[in-house]
């Protein structure tokens, strides 16, 4: 028998079943429980000194009820029977608080699943002593303290998160994700110029991901890039041929197209893609998918409605084929959930979120993409500060990390201070070649924000060639 949680007071599957029955008797048409438990730790070394060492445990339970299409949620970090019963009552009361103005939540049909799944891992973070972790981090930081670097900061993070979804329809889905990662940032100074560079690597894996990688090479590369970048020129503003690297591709299209393909933003009238289903939205070379399990991505085998997250084609050879859906957004458009209902924590309403959103590989090598570019820019995502998108209009602005000029078919000098902007559908239609080298990345340190909730995602793609892009540099 699967026990959900035994500490500090009794909490079990039977208890939840009992509560589901109780809520149903009180008028709930649908009841779902989401239990979440996270163990996490992080350690930060700055300029050779330990700056922070934190560990935390958190757990909580959220209860969702539907009464006549009205969704009530209650949640708590306390687990006594009394508190749980109160929470069920409160969720019901919330659902019944208004008779007027309700936008009904209806759920598309789905098969209730019973399964337990866990991301692969070999080594437990606890198997490494605090001293060992610190030693690795100090060595990583030291390797990056090169001449000209005024500040260097190395952070290590690890976590295990368990989510258990149980519903009145009979679903019982338990997902456990292990994750670890390391981030490094360096600030280089030259005269009165300063430039920072940062990068991180994370993997849904155990602590072997930390112990098996050469982090000293990783951190010293970042410092070297910062040292070059601080000397690098800023390009003239203008329109350029651009090759975007996988990290930049991931960043731009997650933000500028990924969000626009989220079903809840489509049905609320906030997406530039509304009404575009079946239409051509990109160059025929472009195929975009959202997939729950992919190498080096975040691990989302099931969503927070207990639905399996399968591979979903969003754009196929330039045509918009489908949106990402929760059960409720799917119902509004008369289709099936794609397993994209995710919430940051147990008490949140599940939103439609991307999982691993990426452009599929094409047929060109990097050299072939460079060929024939007389003058252009190689846009790199590492060290990028991010960007912002107007999802309704499809307009985006991003800053890139240190990048390179392209001259006569070859990579030339490093450039910095590059920003890029445009309209996403124009940009997708200007893709004239797609590389074969797909690379996906995720991060334990960050996440994507929507409606006040953060979610870990993966994104990426191959190198792509864009015929024309507006670049902001020197004016």
């Amino acid at each position: 028998m699967l026990l959900l949680y035994m500490e500090p007071e009794v909490y079990s599957q039977e208890l939840v079943e009992h509560l589901i029955e109780y809520a149903t008797r009180q008028g709930a048409d649908y009841v779902a429980f989401l239990f979440q438990e996270e163990d996490s730790g992080s350690m930060v070394v700055e300029n050779g000194e330990l700056k922070a060492f934190e560990e935390g445990k958190s757990s909580g339970l959220g209860i969702r009820v539907l009464v006549d299409g009205s969704l009530g949620i209650a949640s708590s970090t306390k687990f006594s029977l009394q508190v749980l019963k109160e929470s069920v009552k409160y969720a019901l009361r919330m659902a019944k608080a208004s008779k007027k103005g309700i936008e009904k939540t209806c759920l598309s049909d789905t098969e209730p699943l019973k399964t337990t799944i866990e991301s692969a891992w070999k080594k437990n973070p606890d198997d490494f002593s605090d001293e060992e972790k610190l030693k690795l981090l100090l060595e990583t930081n030291k390797a990056a303290q090169l001449e000209g670097i005024v500040s260097s900061n190395t952070r290590m993070g690890w976590m295990t998160e368990r989510r258990l979804f149980q519903s009145s329809e009979g679903a019982l889905v338990e997902t456990t994700v292990h994750m670890a990662g390391l981030a490094h940032s360096a600030i280089a100074s030259s005269g009165d110029r300063m430039e920072s560079m940062f990068d991180s690597k994370s993997r849904c894996a155990g602590f072997e991901f930390i112990s098996d990688v050469d982090w000293q090479e990783f951190s010293s590369n970042i410092s070297n890039t910062a040292l070059k970048a601080v000397q690098a020129p800023t390009p003239e503003s203008g329109t350029y041929k651009v090759i975007a690297d996988p990290a930049m591709v991931g960043l731009i299209f997650h933000e500028a197209l990924g969000h626009a393909s989220e079903g809840d933003l489509v049905t609320s009238g906030e997406s530039v893609l509304e009404g575009c289903l079946g239409k051509k939205v990109a160059s025929p070379l472009v195929t975009i998918v959202d997939q729950g399990i992919v190498e080096d991505g975040f691990y989302v085998p099931f969503d927070d409605e207990g639905v399996e997250k399968k591979r979903q084609i969003v754009v196929e050879k330039g045509f918009l084929r489908g949106f990402l859906h929760s059960r409720s957004s799917a119902m509004k458009l008369g289709c099936q959930s794609t397993g994209n209902a995710r919430c940051q924590s147990f008490g949140d309403k599940p939103l439609v979120r991307q999982t691993n959103y990426f452009i599929e590989g094409g047929d060109r090598s990097f050299e072939e993409l460079l060929e024939g570019i007389d003058s252009g820019i190689y846009l790199c995502g590492s060290g990028a500060r991010g960007g912002e998108v107007d999802v309704g209009r499809g307009a985006f602005t991003f800053s890139s990390g240190p990048s390179f000029a392209i001259k006569k078919g070859e990579l030339a000098e490093m450039i910095r201070g590059v920003s890029v902007g445009g309209m996403v559908l124009d940009t997708l239609n200007r893709v004239t070649a797609v590389g074969k080298d797909v690379s996906i990345e995720t991060s334990i340190f960050g996440g994507c924000g929507k409606d006040g909730q953060r979610a870990r995602v993966g994104h990426g793609g191959p190198h792509i060639l864009i015929e024309k892009m507006a670049i902001g540099g020197k004016s």
């Binding site: 934190e54 560990e55 935390g56 009530g72 306390k78 103005g101 600030i187 209009r393 307009a395």
Partner: protein, 448 residues
């Protein structure tokens, strides 16, 4: 010691000392939240009770922090033992002097509203109906694309081995709304938000009306050709500029780490004589106003820039000890992270002009209502830029055509020195950042 939480904290303090710690600090947070989510209509009503406990242990200048969301005796003890073992393994931090010693509480007005504590879900759904009604009454083609009304009460308990047990209670109420228009065409939206400590001060109707007006003008908005013209910043937008430009860089942490452009410039003239910026930690009804900060140090007024001269930075206990001064009461943290200095209420002093006078004095300018990408501005280099999502041309003193899809840019450090040619009297806030309307004499405008 009255409450169960205070008892739990005291127990941890004893255990920490028994284990051999030199210093122990317990931070406990209990938050009740209620939220209504709207998408076209009322979609979700939710309620949560979230708790957290963080223990900092210091042993021979070595610091460990461990946390848990469970407020039980067992979890508290386990967390304390772990924090102690983490401190033991840490190398000594030579800059460490002590936890906060001068803790205490001041009287503040307008941060706790008992009405919020007793608010029924039905009261909140009435406010949600008001939002829906205001938007559809303005124009039947308008709808609430997304909205939220949230209220909460947060109780924070802080105890360390030096002083009294401190407890503070804050209430808050906030809302934001995104209004869409069902008229075919581009999907321009109108957004507005508000935040307060007092339920009755949350003006859902006014906020919904403003977002509706913007959704209407956004439909007609167009880019304008490249130019350099005066830019009138709506007070809430300029408040965001202040928080981006100074929120991090006037903290002693950034200065000590040499990540601030303001390091070593105290006493220097960094802005025009009309520029006065303070951190008002105890101002009545201030969003960031509290009886004491997250280390238990009383909050107060800190002069940052006075008449253009840089006067000081904001400090928590660690950074203050490092500079040999007292904390300014600016420690900010969550239960699972250590404190760091952060502004309480950044406040830019107002001028004498009304918004109307500023508009009247403008021959050819751009009045900004909504921006995207402002956060990509750079507080180290002073680069200030954003894309206009909703603005209006001002011609011969009158607001004329709506504008969107242009990028504005300039250098904030130059703007501070000689670029702000008109300052309004109308202070408003975005989060804990307060500003009047500001006109910048010239910024470049480029179509996107």
């Amino acid at each position: 010691m009255k409450s169960r939480v205070a008892y739990l904290a005291k127990n941890i303090l004893h255990l920490g000392e028994k284990l051999g710690a030199n210093e122990v600090e317990v931070y406990i947070d209990e938050t009740r939240l209620r939220n209504i989510g709207l998408v076209k209509g009322i979609e979700t009503l939710s309620s949560s009770f979230i708790t957290g406990l963080g223990v900092r242990i210091v042993s021979e200048k070595r610091v460990g922090l461990s946390s848990t969301s469970l407020l039980t005796r067992e979890a508290g003890e386990q967390t304390t033992r772990r924090a102690y073992s983490m401190a033991k393994v840490s190398p000594p931090n030579n800059d460490w002097v002590s936890l906060a010693k001068k803790t205490g509480s001041i009287d503040v007005e307008g941060v706790f509203d008992p009405e919020i504590e007793n608010l029924e879900p039905e009261n909140m759904s009435e406010a949600a109906l008001e939002m829906l009604g205001t938007v559809s009454e303005r124009d039947s083609d308008l709808f609430v694309a997304r909205g939220t009304i949230q209220t909460g009460v947060k109780t924070t308990t802080i105890v360390n081995n030096y002083g009294q047990e401190l407890e503070r209670k804050e209430s808050f109420a906030s809302t934001y709304v995104t209004v869409g228009s069902s008229i075919p065409g581009d999907k321009s939206l109108g957004n507005e938000a508000g935040e307060t400590h007092i339920w009755r001060d949350l003006n859902v109707e006014e906020i919904s009306r403003e977002a509706s007006e913007r959704a209407i003008t956004a439909k007609k908005a167009r880019p304008i050709p490249s130019t350099s013209i005066p830019i009138i910043w709506r007070n809430k937008l300029f408040a965001n500029v202040l928080s981006i430009m100074f929120g991090g860089t006037l903290s002693a942490d950034a200065v000590q780490k040499k990540r601030s452009p303001w390091g070593g410039k105290i006493g220097s003239e960094i802005a025009s004589a009309s520029f006065t910026l303070g951190d008002e930690g105890s101002v009545s009804f201030g969003i960031g106003t509290r009886q004491f900060d997250d280390e238990g140090v009383p909050q107060r007024t800190v002069s940052l820039i006075k008449d253009g001269i840089l006067k000081g930075y904001i400090y928590d206990t660690f950074t203050a000890n490092k500079d040999g001064i007292e904390s300014t009461g600016n420690a900010s943290r969550t239960y699972d992270s250590p404190p760091r200095p952060s502004p309480n209420n950044l406040y830019l002093s107002s001028g004498k002009m009304s918004l109307n006078e500023i508009l009247k004095e403008t021959r050819n300018g751009l009045y900004l209502q909504e921006l995207i990408g402002l956060w990509l501005s750079n507080p180290v280099s002073g680069y200030l830029g954003a894309t206009v999502a909703n603005g209006s041309l001002v011609e011969d003193g009158e607001v004329t055509h709506p504008v969107k899809g242009v990028l504005i840019s300039g250098n904030f450090f130059d703007i501070m020195k000689n670029g702000m040619d008109m300052i309004g009297q109308d202070v408003d806030h975005s989060g804990g950042s307060y500003s009047p309307t500001v006109r910048v004499a010239s910024m470049s405008v480029t179509p996107q």
